[in-house]
Symmetry: C2
Amino acid sequence: MAIDVQSILSESAKSMKASEIRALLKYANHPEMISFAGGMPSPDTFPIEELKEIMMEVLTTEGRKALQYGTTDGNEVLREELVKRYNKQGLNITKENIIITTASQQAIDLTTRIFINPGDTIMCELPSYLGALQSFTAYRANVVGVKAGESWEEKTRELVEAGKKPKFIYVIPDFQNPAGTTMNLEQRKEILAVAKKYDILVVEDVPYREIRFMGQEYPLLSSMDSERVILFGTFSKTFVPSFRIGWVIAPKEIVEKYNIAKQSADLCTPWFDQAVAAKYMQKGYYETNLKKTIELYRGKRNLMIECFHKYMPEGVTWTEPEGGLFLFVQLPEGYNSRDLFKIAMEKHVAFVVGDVFFCDGKGQNTMRINFSFMSDEKIIEGVKRLADSIRELFKK
Amino acid sequence: MAIDVQSILSESAKSMKASEIRALLKYANHPEMISFAGGMPSPDTFPIEELKEIMMEVLTTEGRKALQYGTTDGNEVLREELVKRYNKQGLNITKENIIITTASQQAIDLTTRIFINPGDTIMCELPSYLGALQSFTAYRANVVGVKAGESWEEKTRELVEAGKKPKFIYVIPDFQNPAGTTMNLEQRKEILAVAKKYDILVVEDVPYREIRFMGQEYPLLSSMDSERVILFGTFSKTFVPSFRIGWVIAPKEIVEKYNIAKQSADLCTPWFDQAVAAKYMQKGYYETNLKKTIELYRGKRNLMIECFHKYMPEGVTWTEPEGGLFLFVQLPEGYNSRDLFKIAMEKHVAFVVGDVFFCDGKGQNTMRINFSFMSDEKIIEGVKRLADSIRELFKK
């Protein structure tokens, strides 16, 4: 007789939910499928020739070290390169302010582990990144969302007065996932003022910040307040997702907590990949490839928006983001993107239903559309199929 | 005014302890230091030329896939190779019974996350692997150790009768870390009988199993009970630690839980490294290199034991293990290896104090000595220094 697994699960495991995005990635492999789901970079951006050169070099010159266990805080050269990069953006950090994580999903997970007891409050934007919401849920946090236009000050005060002072505020200030919006300077100042007033940490997750097509760049929150802001960065959108390299930038005292938490989570992030990434940055390849990536995605974004204008039936609205990888799309009130999803599956076009990004269970009429992964031909064909699916939904 | 970090830590973060092994790894970098601490493989075992060949091949033939995000469960080819390997050892599994983890430290962490609420009981050997104890502590488990010779049946019954039924039993049946002992068939049967009688999961962690120098091999616990045993494997000791590739083998229903837990922990294990490992196994390099590794370590083990016989003062005893990477050493009762450690640091020889492996706070007169990492010359010199340090301790 096998064991009754359900009966011995932890409370945390019981509250974990499988990601619907992950489930959708399975469809992305279907030969007929055009997938606007996921947040995958275009394989055209992978610097395969440069990686051949660098991997040979790393194996030849430092193989015995690069294949060995590494330290929990991460490769020093890589951290030094990141220090330079961020200090150019107004930070004033040293490598002791950085810990390399197994991509930014681990940064989210460790942050929640370090600060959250079941029932503790986390504030975030409404909608917000699914992977973060999943992690918050796994630790049984009380997640409170703030809509665009709502007052952070008011919402925070309410929580504090109700004895539910947030442990931290999680935001994606640049090209927010999924909404595509970017906080202006006033909005950044407001978040930091609230954090200071109520003595709350702010986490800024900036996976898309460097993928800007147009418009004005605003300063990093961490450049405006070095004591209260934790930054999550990643190479997954601008270099190679498969290496699983992310980082946390924070005051040293906080980095030390990540160090201890990461020791028991996975000891260290793959060291060979870090050695390769370090050399890639040192050689200036990162910068060159980033420029090419931006140009490629700018074209895809413009093409997708053009197709939306051309094919979408009336009543559908969408963001036209200044950067990032996604359009956020709204159906008229009353329509549910899960109904649309069923139709779209039959027509072999995939997207992410928007309600998964809403911690308040709303957003039924929204969906997230990725434009980085598909070829231009498939973007055109996919938007056509999606528009047809919506028309079919409207008729029902 | 900076935030008061201590005041907002989770209960979990408060109970986390920094690893003393990790702290010791810092000494391993001192130019004069001979380090018997850590559990690092010899860099002489790293198959650098084979990796050059394979990495070029992976980048050329499947670069666009190998550099992309992967699925949470892990590379299919790699899992198929592992299936073949384990089924030869009497398991009867398919790739759905395997999930690739970010080395076995993550396997430990996810297991604890999935099953343990604060206060839940885990049984393990006394002493046991520090990385596991750390993770158990981070989740605030009640860890109960069973000494060699003690009855698992009796201890388990006591716990069950006290309302503290263990969620799982964690064991390292082959070349146990740190004790170096291997469970014989009777002991394996006893553990499984207890697990069956009280309906408890068993976790068998087998990082060293393939590194056998002599003696009889006993069956995997998972080959003796496929419903109740979870196996942790890793490439860290027999291939490349820097890739951070481990795996969990379990009933499908349980693998699904790991899948969900891993999604929010780090989404997926580095995919390029998995693609390389898959090809490395497919080409038969794993088997060839493993044989060379065993021969190398057999020589180091024999050399170290020879030096122990030659140099150690009377009263010191040690295991002479049939496999693995460590000797476990006992000073006469009343001596503390932490006092020895201070003397040894001055003489530039490092080891791991044994008490960190004891969940009951005992083992003060023990220490763990690694023989895989240092060159033969350093093994000889290091044992001399260690013996001198012990003589100095005895005089105090």
